[in-house]
Amino acid sequence: MRKLALICVVMVLAFLPPPLLGEVDSALLQDSVTVDLPEPPAPPGNVTATDNPNDNGRAIRVTWELSADDTTGMKNVIGYRINRAEARDAADSLWTEASDILPSGTTEFIHSGDGEEDGPDYFAKNYDFYYRVHALTADTFSVSAVVGPVQAKDNWYNTGVTFVLLFVALFIILTVTFVRIARKGKELYIRPLAGIEAVDEAIGRATEMGKPTLYILGLGSAADIATIASFAILSRVAKKVAEYQTPLLVPCYEPFVMTVAQDTVRAAYMDAGRPDDYDEDSVYFVTSSQFAYVAGVMGTMIREKPATNFYLGMFHAESLLLAETGAMIGSIQIAGTDQIAQLPFFVVACDYTLIGEELYAASVYLSREPVLLGTIKAQDWAKAVVVGTILAGLLARLLVDLDFIKTVFEVSV
């Protein structure tokens, strides 16, 4: 009988409905969680999520205050992680990780992406997002309050470059002012440049010797300012060469540069009244491989022995190779570049070197047009403003050490 009763009890227990068993299990589990899991750290406070400024609407800036347990005590917070969802009350499974684990002490994260809809980093603009910040310890974590909705928006003005805008505006005003002054006929003085004053003499020497003039535009593309400045100088040089009826050689590194140089030289010959003297083969493409170009031009120098070499534009490692070859064959050499690292090479190997900005001013010196002289004057005044600003800022920092001076001149692109 007792055996039968025991069997009945076992059977009743075996066929008990699941909820009843579940309650029993979860109660047991609850006891074990309470006992085993460590206490979570204090959550990050004051979480904010705002549109990241000065961008293309593909980023949100999230900030927070450090957890009270950040790097201290037993609940040592070792990092933070940012989560994002499309609804405030989204289930945990719908929150996605917006960041990797950020180191402790971090209080800001910019969650950014791109506009490729099928890509892994797609970031929708003008769309509501919600953020929360996890404070992580080695064993557990805590979660901040959810913030949002926040939208990433296109920005139509980059406030980080306001100082640049002001300076460009000032420069335009200065340029227009001095161009007007020059147009009224006032004579503007600019200091002489030895390298430019030697251009006539150098081309004259080539004429006397019956040797060609070699003009190298450098390795820059047609979009580089140094190359654009060099086109302007080439125009003046080609005109003088046409007047003196001296051969001109312009080996080009870039086909694009070659086409512009061909037009420039052709126009200069027309201006000089000698369009028939223009030789289409005088401006030619060599190669777009740096040292193959050097080999080609060095070969031309050795064979043709030009009396005058111009190196004006953007140069890299080839500067000394070309200039030394020119020096060895005894050419008069005039160089100019805005690449600071190459200037010493030109200085030691060439007769005259235009340093930095002198390259940009050279075409004005050659033309002596009053309107162009106005732009050089504006440049000088802008330089004075820069020097004045540097000195004023230096004095202000030394004397009063105000933070706002630093922030006024800060530029963030």
Partner: protein, 207 residues
């Protein structure tokens, strides 16, 4: 009109590029990318013009039997050989045996040789530069000697020479570099403005 149209295009595109710098919006970036893409496309067409120019100039030299015309023939031969070997149906493409042989065992060593000439040219240029013919040249020579001695194991002298070399690099050298950079920056803006506003138009020829 032949001059007006390019000037108008330069003004419009130049002004757009200035404005684009201050506008971070997506539309502005897209337009910028669009223009850069066009530059690449035009660059490819320009490459065809460049190769045509190289062929024409070389051919003229050969035809006229100009001085050292053999170099022009070699240039053309090199051009056509590399194109043929690199052309998939004929030579087998850029991974074909012959193309790789020419590239790796002719072109690369020749380019490396040209680059290595720089070492010898530096020595000859330094010899000319470091002759103390004036006070400034003597200062240059002294500075250069200090910088060169910096990398030598000079025992107890190493530390003071290192300090002096560091001072030369960080104080007078950097100050001069920054002065040049400021000038270059302003010169770039001035040149850009001259071209955009049509003040500098020498590259188009005179009116």
């Amino acid at each position: 009109m032949k001059r007006q149209l390019p000037l108008m295009l330069v003004f419009l595109l130049g002004a757009f590029m200035i404005i684009q710098y201050f506008v971070p919006a997506q539309a502005s970036l897209d337009a910028y990318e669009f223009i850069l893409d066009w530059m690449i496309i035009i660059g490819i067409f320009a490459m065809a013009l460049g190769i045509w120019s190289l062929m024409r100039v070389s051919w003229h030299k050969i035809k006229r039997r100009s001085h050292d015309w053999q170099y022009a023939a070699l240039t053309l031969a090199g051009l056509f050989i590399m194109v043929l070997f690199g052309f998939e149906p004929i030579g087998g493409g850029l991974k074909s045996y012959l193309w790789l042989q020419f590239y790796e065992f002719v072109m690369v060593p020749v380019l490396a040789t040209i680059f290595s000439l720089l070492a010898f040219f530096m020595a000859s240029a330094a010899y000319r530069a470091f002759r103390a013919r004036s006070l400034l040249a003597a200062v240059l020579l002294g500075s250069a000697m200090v910088l060169m001695f910096r990398v030598l194991p000079l025992g107890p002298l190493s530390d003071p020479i290192n300090e002096l070399a560091g001072w030369i690099l960080v104080v007078p050298n950097l100050a001069a570099k920054r002065a040049i950079l400021i000038g270059v920056g302003l010169g770039m803006v001035a040149t850009s403005l001259k071209v955009i506003l049509g003040i500098e138009r020498s590259y188009l020829g005179r009116d």
